[in-house]
Symmetry: C2
Subunit: 413 residues, 2 copies
């Protein structure tokens, strides 16, 4: 058997004050015919990363609706995960080779995991490319309906990788992509659903923090909460353009001399390139003591990120390339309009002039940040619209609703 992941129970009723009774009722109605349905989620890891975060919420909420939802993770060796890491990059367009050796390793572990699969399910949702070959080796056994859930952007996939993987992916009855634009070329599914990722408003990351406590939180890192603060929360990599954010901040500082900038990110001990780019960012910042460069090794965890999002006068996500950008969702949810790059999932979230501003250049970014800092009332109004936009589109309940619709269309309820 594959390894089962235990999750804490969650109750939909607890979300009613946030999303309203109507939404909860709608979910219950949609789930009525699905009571007792057996749903298995299969992915590569039980913690770390967005997929694990989403399943930690969705699996218990499905159970609360009477669905027999499960979550299992595949087994793999270092060599397997090296191949899937390369495949992740290749499927997102990186120019790297896919060798026969790599293919054989991937197939071998997919076969092993397929042989370990037990039980009978109505729906098997296979997440991302790592276990995508299991259906092939299961020969459609174990699951009535097989769904491939893709969390990455395959639209510009390296053809070597897409050609190989799509052979296995195309046998699924249904596929789910995050955005329409992310669907790779030549796919041919009976059912294709577009379901954006979402945040859990009751998770520690997204639960509200009283302003006073959030101010204390950022003050602990040397920030003066009585002075204006611009924040970008992101990994330190070129696509998030922290150097561009520093340049934009410098333009803003000409007009508002006491403005501060916080660049807040998460570092991994096994990512030398990330450390290199962190150093590059620090060195671009120079000895300006109003710029704060902070990460998890300095004690910035989910709660502290929340403090930054809560106290910031302006939240920026100046990406030049982006997946969906859940960190934008988190900031909008905290009532902050976001000044974001016009890429990936950001334009779905940032409605220009309503929930923030879409920008294409350093100057544009600086202008919009300056405008928000100089118009606090309007910023607050937009912040309210930002929160509503997330409330109406990007909370776990929407995710759940989308899955229920998909299940119903497959089972022809």
């Amino acid at each position: 058997m594959l390894e089962n992941v235990e999750v804490q129970p969650k109750r939909l009723d607890d979300y009613q004050p946030i999303v309203g009774a109507e939404m909860i009722y709608e979910l219950q109605q949609l789930a009525n015919d699905l009571k007792g349905a057996r749903v298995l989620n299969i992915n590569a890891t039980s913690f770390g990363g967005g997929v694990a975060e989403i399943l930690t919420t969705l699996v218990p909420l499905m159970r609360d609706l009477g669905i027999q939802a499960e979550w299992q993770v595949i087994h793999g060796s270092d060599e397997f995960f090296n191949v899937t890491k390369a495949s992740h990059n290749g499927l997102q367009g990186m120019d790297i080779p896919l060798t026969d050796d790599m293919k054989n390793i991937w197939l071998h572990y997919n076969q092993l995991n397929a042989e370990k699969l037990e039980g009978e399910y109505d729906f098997i949702i296979v997440h991302d490319p790592q276990p995508a070959g299991m259906l092939h080796f299961c020969n459609r056994k174990h699951g009535k309906h097989w769904i491939w859930r893709c969390h990455i952007d395959t639209s510009n996939a390296n053809p070597a990788f897409w050609g190989f993987y799509s052979q296995y992916i195309n046998s699924y009855e249904a596929a789910v992509f995050t955005m329409k634009q992310y669907v790779g070329p030549g796919v041919n599914f009976e059912h294709l659903a577009i379901i954006p990722p979402t945040i859990d408003p009751l998770s520690p990351k997204n639960a509200p923090i009283p302003l006073e406590r959030a101010r204390e939180g950022v003050a602990g890192f040397g920030i003066d909460p009585s002075r204006p603060l611009i924040t970008q929360v992101s990994r330190f990599d070129p696509w998030k353009d922290p150097l561009g954010v520093i340049d934009a901040y410098r333009l803003v500082k000409k007009e508002i001399p006491n403005v501060q900038l916080a660049l807040v990110g998460s570092m991994a001990s096994d990512d030398p390139e990330g450390w290199y780019f962190l150093d590059k960012t620090s060195r671009h910042a120079g000895e300006d003591s109003d710029i704060f460069i902070l990460h998890n090794f300095q004690g910035v965890g989910a709660y502290e990120v929340g403090c930054f999002q809560t106290t910031s006068d302006s939240v920026v996500q100046k990406s030049t390339r982006e997946g969906f950008g859940l960190v934008v969702t988190e900031a909008l949810w905290k009532g902050k309009p976001v000044v974001g790059g016009n890429v990936g999932g950001i334009p779905l979230q940032v409605i220009n002039g309503e929930t923030g501003y879409l920008v294409d250049s350093i100057e544009d970014c600086a202008d919009k940040v300056l405008y928000l800092l100089q118009h606090p009332d309007e910023s607050r109004k937009m912040g309210k619209a930002s929160q509503d936009h997330v409330r109406h589109h990007f909370l776990s309940m929407h995710h759940l609703k989308n899955y229920l619709h998909l299940f119903r269309s497959l089972a022809i309820v």
Copy 2:
């Protein structure tokens, strides 16, 4: 029983090509009357840190001389190690409080560990303050001769800590300090030995690396091995003065425009202050692409440090406060004169004008680095003297010899 530490065997004969037959013979003669003697080393940790590194070499070498040497580590909880961490700082002079609670925790764990001690030994060497109270609770049982081996500088100890600890330390028959100047006030031992720490010339850290391979090693981090390189290997903390090293490099660069600087250090994931000071260093360096700031998370391990020490045209250790400075020993051993701060154990190693230069200011540091870079023949000659100085004073064999003398004086052989 306390936890026993297993060590790989080592043979003194393997060191003969380095230290000469005479030294090996002298050690064997000194050990003749000590054959079968039971020696127990007790410390707080079996890996990480200088003490563990030293015991990894000394214990097997004692065994090779026919001494029944052992190494055991104490048990402790987080609260115990929090107290010993604070005590480490207090005994080195930090102005922090020592509460009754802290004293009780330390005494409690020393009593527990004393009760776990088994067997009969001729010599028990207790390393550093953590287990120093065990003798008190053993009431002199288990060991004929108890020795306290202090690896830290207690000369400016916070009186609250020194007053408390010295009650327990003073009951030892003998004490060993690293340097005469490190002995705290009012100690009163029958036997007081001064034994500097040493390096193992056959450890991976100190084994010679062919120049070509070392050049490839540093080139991997973006350094141009055909251009001059200044290196400081040290933690990123104010006492190692990396900012001063950058300023000195800038002065040198005025004369030698193609000079490069590498600041190489080791970071710990649980040391927020270290990460803060690393950021401060990067930001002081600014966007000068001839300055390289590197650490273990970027793939710099013991071997890579060796590559830097081997290829550098000038090695600096511009500390304003230092313990013994084993990193200076390592560089001297690799045939490099060191430009070092005139503090701690550095003047024992850096003989001004012979094995390097002692400096007190940024300008002085820059002058001496410049001199060495502009006089490569002299630098090579000094490098030869540097290696000889370590060969004659700071290799594991000297450590061993010093211990054998101490054992003999205690046992009146």
